[in-house]
């Protein structure tokens, strides 16, 4: 019984052993082991990435395709010989393969026959050195090194730690010998300065890495304004250096924590900038006190504060002349202290509530100055004495005054003869008028001629007229400038003609013939001879106002005694008289 039990026990144990063996065989048998077995040789078994590995094998189906895998990645395909041998072939260890054990396998595509070998990638010893002339974030660092693969891309990372992937700075490439020769890369602006920074170079293909350290300095940005005493309403710009190359910089007026940036600019590749961040200073900005701008780099975040004092406008004006006469006086203006390239409006004659008439407009230059600008001709009709110019910048809007004295014309007119006889020709000269002005000449308020003043405001022997007959005593001449209204008056003492008549006799009987001659009448005028009130004869004077051999008959029927003979000019109204006696016996 015991023997039977023993046999049964042994059978159970054996059964368990068989089942367990079968179980573990099924569970732990590698899948690959399901393939039929072949054999593979590889030479060498250790090597660097990119190194050449020769492989050969057998046990494959004759003439089938055999795929070669490095780890799980198919890297090659070859055809087996007719006897199932895999003829020697080679491959290169792929880039970026980690330094550890790897598997090389060959699988027949139809037979599934598999052969496998191990390959160990060996680390490559690499080294780097770094240096920098200005070791600051944003500046360049020079990297040298050796031992890398030929023409390999090498990644440079700052401050790579076990817990941090670091700050990538970019990639550089080795030469054919696998060396780095002082190759430059900018230090990333994100790397913190003022500490020792570790730089790691990692071969992209070899996966080999080397470290080096350098002390990185911090940022000391600096900035200055275009003007430390800018005027309100003007524009200001900023220049600076020491910022992170290419970083954006905000400009704040006052406390940067409590205000928005008033301007923005960007540093160049050297971390500098010049005359950027244009900002127009508001007109309501407080002047005469210290104020500040703060510039903060977006990456460097180090504030730079600039103190300055805003100025009010301090404009000054100079006139090309401070006294002048209306008409041809042309004024030009100079000045400074205005807003650059602003329009300046010039008003004249303002006072009280009015700002005056706009008389000129011009632009200031780049400095807010102007020299001999404008062209203002003093108009006629303006008030003599002090007049005010107001200069108003359209941007600065701070009126500035200049006083100008307007003179008055004191004109006079002079006749060529102050006491002319009727019929005399007289001309007029004048002075004190505006230059180059048409002048009208009046004689007893009647327009009789015109003159034109010269460049000195004078005219000479102009507007010749003939003194009218029939006038006597005082006459008035007046010259009036047709543009300026300037006038000059002069009185003339007109002389009367005093003709004389001489008879051939002063005595005679009625119906006797008397011959007369006369002179000083008007030239070529008709004369009438009256004996008392009776017309007794008529005649014409010659060109000199004389007549001769004019006869008349003494009227009949007149009483004897004294009578009067009048000879009067028709035009001149002048009369010559002589007494004529008729005998009593008549």
């Amino acid at each position: 019984m015991r023997a039977v039990k023993g046999i049964i026990m042994l059978a159970r144990v054996f059964k368990i052993l068989i089942l367990k063996t079968l179980f573990f065989t099924l569970i732990f048998l590698p899948v690959n082991d399901l393939f039929a077995a072949g054999s593979l040789n590889s030479q060498p078994s250790f090597g660097k990435v990119n190194s050449k590995v020769n492989i050969s094998g057998n046990g494959f189906k004759g003439g089938e395709n055999v795929d070669v895998f490095f780890d799980q990645k198919k890297i090659k395909s070859a055809k087996s010989e007719g006897n199932g041998d895999l003829k020697e072939t080679s491959f290169e260890v792929p880039c970026s393969t980690p330094n550890q054990r790897h598997s090389i396998s060959a699988i027949g595509s139809s037979s599934k026959t598999k052969a496998e070998k191990s390959f160990f990638v060996q680390p490559i010893p690499v080294s780097i050195t770094v240096k920098a002339s200005d070791p600051k974030p944003g500046k360049d660092i020079e990297i040298s090194g050796r031992g890398f693969l030929s023409e390999e891309k090498v990644k440079i990372v700052f401050d790579k730690e076990a817990s941090s992937s670091g700050v990538p700075a970019g990639s550089i490439k080795t030469d054919k010998k696998g060396s780095l020769n002082s190759q430059k890369l900018p230090i990333p602006p994100d790397v913190k300065g003022e500490k020792v920074s570790r730089i790691t170079a990692i071969g992209d293909c070899s996966q080999s890495s080397a470290n080096s350290s350098i002390y990185l300095q911090g940022f000391y940005p600096n900035a200055s304004p275009s003007n430390y005493a800018p005027k309100v309403g003007t524009k200001i710009t900023f220049s600076g250096n020491g910022f992170i190359p290419g970083e954006k910089i905000g400009v704040f007026l006052g406390d940067p924590n409590n205000s928005k940036s008033v301007a923005n600019l960007k540093a160049d590749k050297n971390g500098t900038f010049k005359n950027l961040g244009e900002f127009k200073i508001p007109k309501d900005t407080i002047t005469g006190m210290k104020s500040s701008f703060t510039l903060i780099g977006e990456k460097s975040k180090k504030p730079v504060t600039i103190s300055l004092t805003f100025q009010d406008f301090n404009v000054s004006i100079t006139l090309s002349s401070y006294f002048g006469l209306p008409g041809n006086t042309i004024l030009r203006f100079s000045g400074n202290g205005f807003v650059p390239k602003e329009r300046v409006d010039v008003y004249f004659g303002g006072g009280g509530q009015g700002k005056g008439k706009l008389v000129n407009v011009f632009m200031t230059d780049d400095q807010g100055d102007f020299k001999n600008k404008g062209e203002f001709t003093l108009p006629f009709g303006i008030r003599a004495g002090e007049n005010v110019f107001n200069f108003v910048g359209r941007e600065s809007n701070k009126p500035q005054q200049a006083v100008f004295n307007v003179g008055a014309f004191t004109a006079n007119i002079v006749p060529s003869n102050f006491a002319p006889l009727p019929g005399n020709s007289i001309a007029f000269s004048g002075s004190g008028f505006p230059p180059n002005e048409p002048i009208q000449i009046y004689f007893n308020n009647q327009l009789v001629g015109s003159a034109f003043s010269d460049s000195k405001g004078s005219f000479k022997n102009s507007a010749k007229i003939q003194v009218p007959y029939g006038l006597g005593g005082q006459a008035q001449i007046k010259a009036v400038g047709s543009l300026s209204g300037t006038s000059a008056i002069q009185n003339l003492e007109l002389q009367a003609l005093r003709p004389s008549v001489t008879p051939s006799t002063f005595f005679g009987a009625p119906e006797s013939v008397v011959t007369i001659k006369g002179n000083s009448f008007a030239p070529n005028e008709h004369i009438i001879v009256k004996f008392d009130e009776v017309n007794v004869s008529e005649a014409q004077t010659d060109g000199k106002g004389n007549f001769d051999n004019v006869t008349f008959s003494v009227p009949s029927g007149l009483k004897g005694g004294e009578h009067t003979v009048n000879v009067s000019g028709d035009k001149s109204k002048a009369t010559g008289t002589f007494p004529f006696s008729i005998g009593e016996g008549g």
Partner: protein, 519 residues
């Protein structure tokens, strides 16, 4: 004797027939399809390589041109200065009259064609004309009862309608000169309307009739600081409306005197011409010239600036007169008014223009019509300026004569002055879709009996083509013409020979001629 006579008659008949056929042949070679005007071009000087010919004459004051998409020509007869009725002629590219559109208020000063509609700028209005001839007013009430009217129009690349609008007066002051321009007799309450409110200097101008200030009616005086209310539409401006919704008027440019021509370059940028001051009226300002501007939406300075320069400068003073003073107390804007891109001689009365297409040559250069001075209106002198089409090259800002009259009888100027046939007053220049230049020539315009008067039926439509001129027709290559002429003459001789040698009873059949004709 009888037989001889019969033979002679047959010979004569054959010769006459030959002459007729030859004449037909040669005429067909040269002749346009339209009736040839009798206006001679002998006295016209055109730039080398181009030729000019009249298309239509006996027109009444042509003022503006436009083309439809098929190349048909629209030509406005303005009706200005009693030139005749205001109408638009539609003419085929071959020069045949298609239709006449009426129902417009004189003067018609501008035309534009856009998307099947013709737009007509006539006194106080811009109207659209549909293809069926229906006229619809797009905008009314434009201030055009003064010296100048609403002028040329443009549909911009923004599909908006741009309207050039002239002023009521020459220099802001209503005066006796407006009796010559005519309107003061009918409307003594008229004055310029600015686009924005303005403050006045209070400068008034006296004559033996009365004293008048700026921007106020005849006989009204002004005070320093007096406000003139601005409104829209306004004088001396370029206004813009949406033709599909014309309620809102935008002022694109103002402070202009008389903007006339408006057009775009190949990139769609808008330019315009402006006539500068005339030397007339109570406020005499010596003009610095007529102007060509880019449209950039600013105040251009009228009536206190001429071509961007203040008239307070002594260069604007006429000897023996007052130095011109500003009439405005505040000039709009913060800068000086813009300067023109180019200036034409004073009193040229610049008008329409067009940028040249590549086909015509001088690509992107500008051809400008200068309608010419008017004695008794523009400067009162006999000195002539304008009366030509000029070429403006913006790159060098150089202006060259393109079409002028040759000097004749020791005189230069319009045809009516030199006493020969030629161009008179070009008012518009436009290029057809196939790249040929057309010039509207207003005809004779003078001041007579103190009134501006146009001579009826003195206008001409000219066509300028690339190529040398032969018998008044354009020829691209003169050598070809010489060869062609040789062939014609030889052909004529052969035909004559064939006629002469053909059997008496078998004259040449017409089909041979047609064969020749069509080849």
């Amino acid at each position: 004797m009888k037989i001889t006579s019969q033979k002679s008659k047959v010979k004569s008949f054959r010769f006459l027939l030959f002459l007729l056929v030859f004449a037909l042949f040669t005429l067909n070679f040269f002749s346009p399809a339209f009736a040839v005007s009798k206006v001679s071009t002998d006295n016209i000087s055109v730039a080398s390589g181009y030729s000019i010919k009249p298309i239509l004459d006996k027109l009444n004051g042509p003022s503006a041109l436009a083309f439809d998409d098929s190349g048909n020509i629209f030509l406005a007869e303005s009706g200005f200065a009693e030139a005749g009725g205001a109408k638009v002629l539609k003419i085929s590219p071959e020069g045949k009259a298609i239709s006449t559109l009426t129902g417009f208020d004189a003067p018609i000063n501008g035309l534009a064609f856009f998307k099947g509609k013709l737009y007509v700028s006539h006194r106080g209005k811009v109207s659209s004309v549909a293809s069926d001839g229906t006229i619809q007013d797009i905008i009314k009430g434009l201030p055009s009862d003064g010296d100048f009217s609403n002028n040329q129009i443009l549909i911009g690349t923004d599909k908006k309608l741009y309207i050039t609008q002239g002023t009521v007066t020459n220099a802001g002051i209503v005066g006796e000169d407006n009796l010559v321009t005519g309107w003061l007799r009918e409307n003594a309450d008229l004055a310029d309307v600015p686009c924005q409110s303005l403050s006045l200097n209070g400068v008034d101008f006296a004559s033996n009739q009365n004293t008048t200030g700026a921007f106020v009616p005849f006989g009204s005086t002004t005070n320093e600081g007096q406000q003139v209310k601005g409104s829209k539409p306004c004088n001396g401006s370029i206004m813009r409306i949406d033709p599909t919704n014309p309620k809102e008027i935008e002022v694109i440019a103002w402070g202009l005197r008389n903007p006339v021509g408006i057009g775009t370059d190949s990139k769609g940028k808008i330019y315009f011409t402006e006539q500068g001051f005339d030397l007339r009226g109570r406020r005499l300002i010596k003009s610095s010239g007529d102007n060509f501007y880019a449209l950039d939406g600013k105040w251009y300075g009228w009536p206190d600036y001429s071509a961007g320069q203040p008239i307070s400068l002594s260069k604007f003073k006429l000897a023996g007169t007052f130095q011109p003073q500003f009439v405005l107390q505040d000039h709009p804007g913060k800068e000086m008014p813009p300067s023109p891109l180019a200036q034409f001689k004073p009193y040229s009365r610049v008008a329409g223009f067009a940028f040249s297409p590549e086909k015509f040559g001088f690509k992107d250069q500008i051809f400008v019509a200068l309608s010419g001075s008017v004695k008794g209106l523009t400067d009162g002198s006999d000195k002539n300026s304008g009366f030509s089409v000029v070429r403006l090259d913006l790159k060098g800002r150089k202006i060259s004569d393109f079409i002028t009259n040759k000097k004749a009888n020791n005189k230069s100027g319009p045809a009516s002055t030199i006493g020969k046939s030629g161009i008179e007053r070009p008012t518009d220049v436009k290029f057809s879709p196939n790249g040929e230049m057309y010039v509207a020539d207003f005809g004779v315009l003078n001041v007579k009996d103190n009134t501006l008067k146009a001579k009826p039926e003195s206008g001409v439509l000219w066509k300028v083509s690339k190529g040398a001129s032969l018998f008044g027709f354009a020829v691209e290559n003169p050598l070809t013409v010489e060869v062609g002429l040789g062939i014609i003459v030889a052909g004529g001789l052969i035909l004559y020979f064939l006629f002469k040698k053909s059997p008496k009873n078998k004259p040449l059949k017409p089909r041979y001629f047609f064969f020749c004709w069509h080849n």
